[in-house]
């Protein structure tokens, strides 16, 4: 019965105090929704690998080079040899990427991320199967295991065990297992598993899987108490015995799987750690503000609490009453925050980070632990903000609270001021970071690229054609039409285009000076420089008319020329190292251009001749420079030609401009996130400050009344109440500026092309914080200052 009374009073009280109630709900909702979103990201990250048992027994193999670099791959046969010779290995498997075969069932056909694994795969990774038996799956050569998503697309809701799938129209395999689709944050990334036995029987794989090429990913489960150093020694002996060359190799290391994701993608690790820090920070400011607001509200209710005590209420029931009031606030906000999280923030997070790290989705049936966690956090917040503000009041002598007087609260004011200062300092850091980030992105967008993306359209050439020869001839016709199209200024087919150079390096040396360089390389063809408007400063472009001899020609950039120590490319040759050494004539010199984003510097690059324009192994992109306004016409014609060709992927094209701006999609996403965090920090801090100044105004109501009777104007009183907060903001600036400078300066070091941090960025952030404070504080102060002094004095 008591509880009904509590709820009734709580409800009436919340309704009566509409402004503090709304402020509390808004602040809490925004804060909790952010915590939920970030928390869900963190939860998904840590939950993603939870199916893998005893991770501490798991290791991967890393090749450590003499220069200290580490590569995650080794030669393919190494793992088999380790299994044969080492008693410490409990189980081991390759997870080998090679090709993604098309999977066909009746008229349904799809292509998904496919990995080839050994028969021990399920002993190494405890991946639970929805259908099928992990002990028997993938033991035979013609077996396949698929994710439930793939299964759903091919077979609907049926159990597909025992069904056949045709790979690339040529090979039948039987489904032996279906696993629940992996979380995109998982260490393992695949939707289809095939046995390595199948891969090993293909001739091109057999050719590469020797003791020379390092392209294999290896996963080993070791027995307990294995001596890692000794095993690494044994492995090195195998390497010494078998590798065709150990030049440049230092050792093969066993790397713990526990650090796998952090090693593999440090950015994700940074984002997760940043998220955890932000969660803690937002949670703290949410709690502090609720404490501040509650303290302010409770000050008004001292009399009520005193009366309750006089008529017989104990401390516990007062605390219970206050907790129930807060529970109503917190859980209302929690529900709104939940809706905001699912409907707005999670989709927004997926838009920002999804394309890079994979989209995550909330599913109550599997994600209920996080819901329980949110509810528990709600209870914890309720208890903290329900108990602390009331403790001071209920421990006061009743007669004091009945008179509405307070005990000395200088200490608690100091604590609250400290919190306000810390909050503001953090808000200012965030504003600074956002300003610097925004300027850096703007700067990168405005740096001259060294090429002209305007009017260039990019068409992907590799569409998995069903009949390659037919495709070749149809596309040859289409390209011939392009040559004669008056609106096409130039076009080229290449392996690389700006924004899309592979991390493919090799060593080249000048046969005369013997200077040797590591150069990034790719295939291009006639028209490449012209289409992209890259300036050809010496020599000539590739020429299809010299097709036969052109394979010995290369075009380099200025950086490569300078790195060789040349002042001209006239009569220059380069020799490619490794295996059979090839000599190339340097026929053209390109002015340096930004073939990758501004985070990275321009390196020496080299283009081989990729062959005549058309389909081909070395031609991934068709780039066309079109007269402005005629893009649709030209592209539609081309699409018509591609539509004639049977292919598994659809024709698609993209304006080069879009590719260039999408380079900074992640950075823009981070900028949006920082803006958002800065915004909620400010909102929540302002709410806390609003509560504080309300409390302050109430405490000083008599002083304000007397001052006004003695002649003080509204302006003077407003200044009196506001000055303390303005001082706090200025103090926050002093704390925040060096931190912001340090953070942004170290972050900018990651960019090859970066802005200088300017004084005005700090001034602007300080000014923003100050203006917001002035508005918040001013609003409440003016209200207090313009109250009728007779009223306030009579109340006393």
């Amino acid at each position: 019965m008591m509880i009904v009374n509590y709820i009734k009073v709580a409800f009436r009280h919340l309704l009566k105090n509409k402004l503090p109630t709304s402020l509390n709900i808004i602040g809490l909702t925004v804060g909790l929704a952010s915590i939920m979103t970030l928390g869900f990201g963190v939860y998904s990250y840590y939950d993603a690998d939870s199916f893998i048992e005893k991770k501490e027994e798991l290791y991967t193999l890393k090749t450590v080079l003499a220069n200290g670099d580490e590569i995650d791959q080794t030669t393919y046969p190494l793992l088999g040899e380790i299994i044969h010779t080492s008693p410490d290995v409990a189980a081991a498997t390759h997870i080998q990427g090679w090709n993604w075969p098309w999977l066909k069932v009746e008229n349904k056909e799809l292509q998904k991320n496919t990995k080839y694994v050994d028969t021990s795969f399920f002993k190494v990774f405890t991946l639970p199967l929805k259908y099928g038996n992990p002990k028997t799956a993938l033991q035979g050569k013609y077996e396949i295991v698929i994710s439930d998503e793939v299964s759903k697309q091919l077979f609907g809701d049926l159990n597909p065990i025992g069904q056949n799938i045709t790979l690339d129209d040529s090979l039948n395999v039987t489904i032996q297992g279906v696993f629940k689709s992996l979380n995109p944050y998982s260490s393992l990334k695949f939707e289809v598993l095939l046995p390595t036995a199948l891969l090993e029987s293909t001739s091109d794989f057999k050719q590469g899987a020797n003791w020379y090429n390092s392209f294999s990913y290896n996963y080993i489960r070791l027995k307990k108490d294995t001596d890692i150093n000794k095993l690494e020694g044994d492995i090195w002996e195998i390497v010494m015995r078998n590798y065709e060359s150990t030049k440049g190799l230092e050792r093969i290391a066993l790397a713990s799987f526990l650090n796998y994701r952090e090693d593999y993608n440090p950015t994700v690790d940074t984002i997760i750690k940043g998220s955890i820090a932000t969660i803690v920070f937002v949670l703290i400011i949410v709690i502090i503000n609720l404490l501040n607001l509650n303290t302010s509200v409770i000050y008004n209710r001292k009399k009520e609490l005193a009366v309750r005590k006089i008529v017989g209420s104990g401390k516990r029931s007062l605390i219970a009453q206050f907790c129930i009031e807060n529970a109503m606030l917190v859980f209302t906000s929690l529900i709104i925050a939940g809706i905001l999280f699912i409907q707005v923030l999670l989709p927004a997070m997926n838009t920002i980070y999804g394309s890079r790290f994979g989209s995550i989705h909330f599913d109550l049936t599997s994600d209920y632990p996080i819901v329980i966690l949110y509810v528990l956090s709600g209870i914890l917040i309720t208890v903290i903000v329900g108990i602390i503000p009331i403790l001071n009041i209920i421990s006061m002598p009743i007669i004091l609270s009945l008179k509405g007087k307070s005990q000395n609260t200088n200490k608690s004011f100091f604590v609250r001021n400290t919190f306000i200062t810390i909050q503001f300092a953090l808000a200012i850091v965030f504003i600074c970071v956002a300003l610097v980030l925004k300027n850096q992105i703007q700067y990168m967008n405005n740096v001259p690229l060294g090429y002209n993306p305007e009017g260039v359209s990019i068409v992907k050439l590799n569409l998995d054609y069903k009949d390659k020869e037919a495709a070749n001839s149809r596309i040859a016709v289409a390209l011939e039409e392009l040559k004669n199209n008056p609106y096409v200024q130039s076009f080229s087919t290449t392996e690389v285009i700006p924004t899309s150079y592979r991390y493919n390096y090799n060593n080249f040396y000048d046969p005369v000076s013997k200077v040797e360089l590591g150069i990034r390389k790719g295939h291009a063809g006639q028209g490449y420089a012209e289409t992209f408007g890259i300036s050809l400063i010496e020599g000539r472009d590739f020429d299809e008319l010299r097709d036969a001899s052109e394979s010995k020609s290369v075009i380099i950039n200025r950086k490569a020329m300078e790195s060789f120590g040349w002042s001209s490319i006239a009569n220059k040759k380069v020799v490619e190292k490794g295996g059979k050494e090839e000599t190339y004539n340097v026929i053209g010199l390109l002015e340096d251009f930004h073939y990758q984003d501004m985070q990275n510097d321009i390196e020496p690059i080299l283009h081989y001749y990729g062959g005549k324009r058309g389909l081909g192994y070395n031609n991934s992109y068709l780039s066309i420079k079109i007269t402005p306004g005629k893009e649709d016409l030209v592209i539609n014609n081309l699409k018509g030609a591609f539509d004639d060709i049977a292919s598994r992927h659809e024709f698609n094209y993209e304006p080069m401009n879009a590719r260039v701006s999408s380079q900074y999609k992640l950075l823009n996403g981070i900028l949006n996130t920082v803006n958002y965090v800065a915004f909620i920090t400010i909102i929540i801090t302002c709410m806390g400050m609003f509560g504080l100044i309300s409390l302050n105004a109430r405490k000083r109501v008599k002083e304000i009344g007397i001052r006004k009777v003695l002649g003080a104007g509204t302006g003077t009183i407003t200044y009196l109440l506001s000055k303390q907060f303005i001082k706090l903001v200025l103090l926050s600036c002093v704390i925040a500026f060096p931190i912001a400078w340090y953070v942004m300066d170290s972050w900018l070091q990651n960019f090859a092309y970066r802005i200088d941090i300017k004084w005005w960025m700090f001034a602007a952030s300080g000014l923003i914080a100050l203006s917001i404070t002035a508005i918040t504080v001013g609003f409440r102060s003016i209200k207090a200052a313009s109250a009728n002094p007779i009223k306030s004095l009579r109340n006393d």
């Binding site: 009280h13 017989g312 209420s313």
Partner: protein, 225 residues
């Protein structure tokens, strides 16, 4: 019912110590109606707070119902208070968020009375105070006299042995003030002991005995009946 002997209470600030009660002694018998008078600052309210177990004396003895209570801790005092003492204040001290009914019901909730019994007793007392028709209203919707009648109703709903009234008519006009005094007199006639602090000679005349105080000491004691 009440016996205080050599009661002392000091208020200390950093530099000054003020004596609020100075070796005060008197007795109040069960069923008595005693008025305490004196100028502002003479210690009346301090006395009432101590009698109401809201404050602790610094020295001296306070026997309530035959029990020495001066050394009681907060919990014991609260327990004794909620079963035995009702309060009436100058400023009514009703809870704004509760209706008339709920305000009067509150002491019964805290003493654990069952809902049906509570309803009965609240209705009885509201009838007696002639405020039944206003039971669903909130305090702000009532006149001062009505609010004080609600406060009296709340003070007596638990059938306390003692009612402590601190300037009960101080915020009321004379006709409303008289009504409240009539209520208190009626309660006293039904056996409730009343100690009332007042400035008003008129109100004091309703009592059986007037204790006059100055500077924390009793100066005179007049029996009226």
């Amino acid at each position: 019912m009440i016996k205080i002997t050599d009661l002392e209470k000091y208020y200390r600030t950093e530099e000054v110590q003020t004596i609020a009660l100075n070796k005060l002694s008197f007795e109040v018998k069960e069923g008595e109606f005693v008025a305490v008078m004196g100028p502002s600052g003479c210690g009346k309210s301090t006395l009432l707070n101590i009698l109401g177990l809201l404050d602790d004396p610094d020295n001296g003895s306070f026997i309530f119902n035959g029990i020495e209570v001066s050394g009681f801790n907060e919990r014991k005092r609260a327990n004794l208070r909620k079963h035995n003492i009702g309060f009436v204040f100058q400023s009514f001290n009703l809870i704004d968020e509760l209706t008339v009914f709920e305000n009067v019901e509150l002491p019964l909730i805290y003493t654990g009375v069952k809902p049906s019994e509570r309803k009965k007793r609240v209705h009885e007392v509201l009838e007696k105070m002639q405020i039944m028709h206003r039971r669903k209203h909130f305090p702000q919707q009532l006149s001062g006299g009505q609010q004080q009648r609600v406060a009296v109703a709340r003070a007596v709903v638990n059938n306390p042995k003692l009612i402590l009234a601190d300037e009960p008519t101080g915020n009321l006009d004379s006709s409303n003030g008289n009504e409240v005094m009539d209520l208190l007199t009626a309660l006293n006639e039904q056996g409730t002991t009343i100690v009332m602090v007042t400035h008003s000679e008129h109100d004091a005349k309703f009592s059986h005995r007037i204790i006059r105080m100055l500077d924390g000491e009793k100066v005179t004691e007049n029996v009226l009946v």
